[in-house]
Symmetry: C3
Subunit: 209 residues, 3 copies
């Protein structure tokens, strides 16, 4: 049963991230193969790095339906990306949902592979952010971690919530829902209200050369 | 015997891609070690990602002669890159040949490793494009998938041709030749005649903010 | 005993590279989570790629204390980066030390994993340079291999010194010290005196289009 829940999170995360990759392709006015490539790389990127680092079989090699889904979703976006009123807002919100899904599923998969709690949280962050990093590098957008609003923090806290609550004896179902909800809420607040952490400020007197 | 053919494709692809990496190094006026690094990374990049994803031993760790060949080839380019009349044209054509070679050999290696047909085609695309992506990222060129002419499509169709024809009972030799020829022809036509697929066009009325 | 020396090199290299990642975060005025992410990715990047390519367990998954150290070090830099008189000089010198440490430890780990001598030298270069490449890509700095002064050459000669001296019968302790010292000296001279290798120069008559 639980394997099904994790698999569901993975499926949702892959599809949602594939849409964001295809939306970036639409912003760059790529052709349909560019959509498929960027959508697929974004959808499977985070989980692929997670599996390679954990030395597990890569999930889409075991189950190629993920690839098919990414390609189909990218094709749908190619023909419908003009419909939403603001593509960029849609991109940001779907990216937030995908990030929250992968933060939890990344931590879960690492825990299932026997990883230590700290490693599981790190895997949550890796899974949640790497697809977006690939998308932004290949699509020529400003990488997510250079942007002002809270992003990685949300993934970190979501994964840590899953990890801590299950370590304290909560059910995996509870940890999943709590971690996902927290990550999404923090990122939503960051998007809506411009939440950001205090940034490093250069002090007068120090040179930066 | 067949192992020999696949190995030959790999060797040709590695050498041809190493030349393109060294040619980019010459465009950036790097020193000879920069040539060796960019030539080697471009030559072995695609096959390395393929092997890591398939959880096979990385080909140049099993056979270090690939590394030696990349370094030698890059050194030769350092001293001869001024000879061709147009370096950039040479780069594009060698890149086309390397892409067609790797599209087929990537699909083959994946099939030999027991991968599903869809995964094999994806591996053809990964092997054919990743070396060029590394080259363009490290060398500061516009990434290949953002360019206008057909590229990834050619790799995709070459790998799919190999995969479909062997699945339908054709010999691997036939699949190899047919897949290579198709990928190269499509890319050549794209370069010669500016072939491109229709691109996504923003519709009036939708905002992109 | 020797395992301890290699482990010590790894620890020093990880910490020193984490500081350089956090210093780049301070140049980009990131928040504290950005510091932690960039510091950690820089600190563990080279060793991670080395382990994945050699198909060894990733070192920080086996020993999560590396992750904790990177995060702590990045946090310290967040609060102290204004103290050094010139942050950029400090970044360059720490990067030189980390590069020299990883050039040797990368070659050692590869040799311990049974790799051929050429592969061991290549792994030294990969381990020494990949953390910095990630740092510069994510932080939006000019990648190290596009800069003018000798860098990769120093890593290459350090790793080759370790490899050759141990192959000729010298003790691993000797090879470690000699390789580290040579790599650091060459890079220090490059930084101090602007040492560089001759670059490729376009010849009149050849077009580059």
């Amino acid at each position: 049963m639980f394997e099904t829940v994790t698999t569901l999170l993975d499926w949702l995360g892959v599809v949602v991230f594939a849409v964001t990759g295809a939306l970036v392709a639409s912003r760059k006015e790529m052709d349909i193969v560019g959509f498929a490539l960027l959508g697929t790389a974004t959808g499977i990127g985070g989980g692929t790095l997670r599996d390679v680092l954990l030395d597990q079989p890569v999930f889409w090699i075991r189950e190629p339906a993920y690839l098919v889904a990414c390609v189909l979703v990218s094709g749908v976006v190619f023909f419908t990306a003009h419909i939403p009123h603001s593509r960029y807002k849609m991109l940001l919100w779907l990216d937030a949902i995908g990030m929250a899904l992968f933060a939890v599923s990344g931590a879960e998969r690492a825990a299932l592979a026997g990883a230590n709690g700290i490693v599981a949280v790190a895997m949550g962050v890796v899974t949640a952010t790497f697809g977006g990093i690939i998308r932004d590098l290949l699509g020529g957008e400003i990488p997510v971690i250079l942007r002002r609003e809270i992003y990685v923090t949300a993934a970190l806290l979501g994964a840590a919530t899953y990890e801590t609550s299950t370590a304290l004896g909560a059910s995996r179902e509870f940890g999943t829902v709590a971690g996902f909800a927290l990550a999404l809420l923090i990122r939503a607040a960051a998007l809506q209200r411009g939440w950001s952490l205090p940034r490093y400020r250069p002090r007068p007197g120090a040179r930066d050369e």
